[in-house]
Amino acid sequence: MITLCRSTSLRSLLLPALLATLALVGTGCKKATRVAQGNKDQIFHYGNGGEPSDLDPQNVQGVPEHHIIKALFEGLVTMHPKDLSAQPGVAERWEVSPDGKTFTFTLRANARWSDGQPVTADDFVQSYERILNPKFAAPYAENLYLMVGAEEYNKGKLTDFTQVGVKAPEKRKLQITLRAPAPFFIGMLRHYSWFPVPMGTVTKFGKKYDKGNPWTRPENIVSNGPFTLKEWKPNDKIVVQKNPRYWDENSVQLKEIHFYPIDSTDTEELAFRAGELHATNKVPASKTDAYKQAGTTLRIEPYYGVYYYRVNMDPQKGSNPALKKAEVRRALALSIDREAIVKNVLRGGELAAWSFVPPGPGGYQTRDKLKYDPEGARKLLADAGYPGGKGVPKISILINTAEDHKAVAEAVQAMWKKELGIEVEINNQEWKVYLAAQNNMDYMVSRSGWIADYPDPNSFLGIHTTGNGNNNTGFASPKFDKLVVDSWSAGASGKRTGMLQEAEGLLLADMPVVPIYFYTRRYLIQSSVKGWFANMLDDHPWKYIYLDPAAPPDRLPVLGTAR
């Protein structure tokens, strides 16, 4: 038996030790937050959403990479932060040939790399050669296919790069020739796949076409954007600092941007609430109400993207015969109460999608919109030979495991069951299994999303052409294909809009894709952040952003204790 005295002595030791630890830890109580300090020093703390796989603009394909790369590099043109119109970047001006196919860019004399070398037209030519070279195998090479010969060169059918439509007639003149006078070409140039890379640096640290080339490390990298890379601690943070050699250096006000690659939206929100981030990448759906009530930090903005269900209508690979009938697919589309999903399930200000192309820049409007019509849906189903849903084999909805996808699928499952009498199961899979199933056409209905690369309806309709890598539904309509390709040459006219409307009409009549909702961007941002504007592409050029040290601290929700 332990004596009483002994156990008390143990206890009398433990308590002071505990208190001492707490006191030691508690001395740094409530210091100035990282955000407040950042406001004073013009240091922006940003939740980046994920770790970039690389910072080589030609070797990446994600959004987290985009946030950082657009701070480090600059292309020929940039975007106006509000209306997304093209602004001069490395090119100070450009001329278009009368047929609309040849663009001649004049590069500015004071555009230079961070090592002091000027950015030349030849840098662009060499960069485009690298991204298109099949040996390099760039994931986003397809973005340049609008250039004459680019596709052939990338696929190895053309080996002479001089035949590709990009030339450097002078040191400061770059000439790009297109296959068609596409009106969205200048808009495409905002994308990092069109950015130049410093070829001298690339070849200095490795082989030109090597993927593991260490030229993008902080100690090696040379860039031409408003910021340069200062520090890269994987999965911890990435720091960029103002580039004193940037041509428009005077308008850059931030001294540093710290990117935190936080995967979890919950962690991001906690960090924001603790004053560690100026802006988050996302906000958890369950927290939106609390932030709405608390004050001004929540932003909900329309985003140029659509959330939809692919339907496998492929005559060979489709495993559900009912889904091969257009009537059935339309019935599925008409029986989804999108307003209820948007309002009650998603609750983040998303818009119900009654068309595939979101309302967006250029004033494009869909002509033949869908509607919520369960009565009509039942009739269509009966016409197709399945009255009351009888005889329709069980439909399986493929989703990748995530809260939102599951929530939408559960709602749709209940609606199809209730309105059409169709049995539905939800098949949730891990990300890569889901992608493989979708790419191999091994699904019946599959959750999908599409975000535009450039502000034009073509970004949405182009993917449904026959054989497009992102079609994946078995939809193949020569008429649709012709309309899309012809619209490239129609100029920015009412005629072009008409062609696109007709094409979208064909798509919605055949319904290989059932649109559900249009995305919104939902994130948190401190009100001390200035020069950050809402736009459809969620593109906020860093050089216009600054921090207001005089801004009063934001009111944040007091969660947990409030209830």
Partner: protein
């Protein structure tokens, strides 16, 4: 197994192990078995009895209850997350589904998974660990390196491939969970047996040439029950929460069905705003665990051959 070699030895004398350590000896002497003894002792432990009753009540509630509650999957989208009321005792979830009904229905899955996977891990782990620890030497080395190898395999890839091979199948869930959970059990049992192997009574049994199977089942396994029961009660909640991870990989309960694991996972996402979404399924799991644990404690005491001497 070198059991065959043993049989060529002369038949053993009837062996009475020291009564203090050998549970099997109770059998002969008093005319009632170890299990009857243990049962009697267990019944005298009031806490264990209450907890056992409680567990049965939970099981009955989960398996029969959903017949009388609302449909756990009936949606009412306009009723997005409401606090508990008289109509919905535990409130409603994101799709306006009755949480009480979902917790009960989820309990079916979780209890079944927890029980089956635990039994699998218990049977394999205890047998495997005892054999390895008792036989020792090369047999032990081979058996334990196999455990190490399985333990080190990437679980995610294993589960994904299982699903590719066999499709989405509820039975696979037990296979996948059982396949990992027995490994640690085997290690723990082996450690105990290695220590027991050199005790006088096992050495005596060996010297007398008792068949190894008899030594294993009669003498070794009963003496490892203490840590085994403790670790089993630790395994059950681990398995129930693991199941949620398997649901993430697509194995596990298909939506819209739920389990305690998936309910807890979802509830945790909004625990600050809507704590009851986490609280109720969490409580269900915790209460089950507490009962299991006190029952396990009682069971351990009841099965402990030395306990009666106190």
């Amino acid at each position: 197994m070198p059991l065959v070699a043993e049989e060529t030895q002369p038949p053993p004398e009837p062996f009475e192990a020291p009564p203090i350590l050998d549970v099997a000896s109770h059998e002969g002497e008093a005319g009632h078995s170890l299990w009857q003894d243990a049962w009697a002792r267990l019944r005298r432990n009031r806490l264990a009895v209450i907890c056992g009753g409680f567990l049965i009540a939970i099981a009955v509630l989960c398996f029969v209850g959903p017949l009388f509650t609302q449909d756990p999957n009936a949606q009412e989208l306009s009723r997005y997350i409401t606090a508990p009321t008289w109509e919905h005792w535990m409130g409603t979830d994101t799709h306006g589904r009755d949480l009480f009904a979902r917790v009960l229905a989820g309990g079916r899955v979780s209890l079944m998974v927890g029980l089956c996977a635990t039994v699998v891990s218990l049977v394999i782990g205890v047998l495997y660990g005892t054999v390895a620890g008792y036989l020792g030497g090369k047999v032990d080395a081979v058996m334990m390196r196999f455990v190490d190898a399985v333990y080190a395999m990437p679980f995610i890839i294993f589960v994904i491939l299982l699903m590719v091979l066999f499709g989405r199948n509820f039975l696979l869930l037990f296979v996948a969970l059982g396949a990992v959970e027995w490994l640690t059990m085997a290690r723990i049992v082996r450690g105990q047996v290695m220590a027991l192997r050199r005790t006088e009574f096992i050495e005596a049994a060996d010297a007398l040439g008792l068949p190894k199977s008899r030594i294993i089942f009669r003498h070794l396994i009963p003496n490892t029950l203490g840590p085994v029961i403790v670790f089993t009660t630790l395994t059950i909640p681990a398995i129930m929460l693991q199941e949620a991870f398997l649901s993430f990989l697509g194995l596990g309960v298909p939506p819209p069905d739920a389990s305690w694991g998936t309910l807890i996972n979802e509830g945790a996402k909004s625990m600050e705003e809507y704590p009851w979404l986490l609280l109720f399924p969490g409580l269900a799991l915790a209460v089950t665990l507490f009962s299991l644990n006190f029952l396990g404690d009682g069971l351990r005491d009841a099965l402990d051959p030395r306990a009666s001497k106190d």
